[in-house]
């Protein structure tokens, strides 16, 4: 559960969210991959399952995904104060960078070196996401439940081939999860608490 906020932890939280936000090129799922590396693998603050839950909540709520994820992570680590610190860390870097660039964006936009660096960086960003995905997918397969492995494959197909939005896919899986729960309850004559 929620831990009591101490100064050192809040400072670490601020530094981590600040660094991630400053270095994350691309959409919400990029920062989520980096958050998984930072908070699950490096700092050990969260379990992997928890990070995936946070991602699902962040994706399904209104607002920017990195901000949403920071609010939840911050709350987990230090209550409302923790949320505030994490959000501050997330929004300061883009705020400062854009404030500066807004003044001379003409030069920025037409700079060929910046354009090239941004293009090639995608290869690195993609590698980081693939690394995270390989670990996550391995763990889904380790559950050895056909339902979960099938859901992962189907969801990927729906997103990539059918272009269905992430929100709808997550909502659909929520419904499937509820059905699965009902089956469990029914199958065990109302005994709550059976997962495989």
């Amino acid at each position: 559960m929620k831990k009591k906020a101490d100064k050192k932890m809040l400072w670490q939280l601020f530094c981590s969210t600040f660094m991630l936000s400053a270095c994350t090129f691309g959409g919400g799922f990029v920062i989520v991959s980096l958050m998984k590396k930072e908070f699950v693998e490096k700092l050990g603050w969260l379990a992997e399952d928890e990070m995936l839950d946070v991602t699902a909540i962040a994706q399904s709520s209104p607002g920017p995904i990195p901000v949403n994820a920071s609010v939840i992570l911050g709350y987990r680590m230090g209550g409302i104060l923790g949320s505030f610190v994490a959000v501050l860390g997330t929004i300061i870097p883009p705020f400062v960078i854009i404030s500066v660039i807004a003044v001379f964006y003409e030069q920025f936009r037409s700079n060929v070196y910046i354009a090239t660096a941004l293009q090639v960086m995608r290869a690195g960003v993609a590698a980081v996401i693939f690394d995270v995905v390989l670990n996550l997918a391995k763990n889904v397969c380790a559950t050895q439940r056909v339902l979960y492995i099938g859901l992962m494959g189907t969801a990927f197909f729906c997103a990539v081939v059918l272009n269905i939005s992430a929100m709808i896919i997550i909502l659909a899986c929520l419904v499937i999860g509820i059905i699965d729960l009902l089956f469990n309850l029914y199958g065990n004559k109302g005994k709550v608490g059976v997962t495989e």
């Binding site: 270095c23 854009i98 690195g124 899986c173």
Partner: protein, 191 residues
Amino acid sequence: MILLFKLFISFIQVGLFSVGGGYAAIPLIQNQIVNVHQLMTMAGFTDLITIAEMTPGPISINSATFVGTQLAGPIGALICTIGCVIPAFIICLLLAHFYYKYRNFSGVQTVLAALRPAVVAMIASAGLSILVLGLFNSDLKSIVFGNFRVIEFILFIGALFLLRKYKMNAITIIFGTGIIGTLAYLPTILK
């Protein structure tokens, strides 16, 4: 004052109604800024999106800061950013509260367990889009195989190897590919 208030309300709406990440926010910002309040032309808005995509950070925060700075200076930037974040802050705080209150119930765990594989798939799909963008400079639907970029492919394989084998730091990897890749393209740029 009126302008600042207008901006604040506009970005609260953007923050409140953009569900599903940055790209969902773009049409909302366009509607508020270009159509409803006519604070910016379409050309200015296109610049805004280009810049928001080129810089790190969430697209809607980037846009809020950019629009605010352009229209009302640093204070405008602050007002827009705060407006954009407030709805997310309140809603996610509530959701986080309920999540941590109930997540240890096994029933909730069963439901969440079905969500997790989907989240993994979503992250994989985002990764694939970025990889395709990096290797072909286009989206998945309009790949032209002739546009295959060898330098990016080598960078991707190298980066993935360093991440898997040596668990190298992700941020080092991202900036490393940026620097090495730009150096690799230097002959082409200077030609």
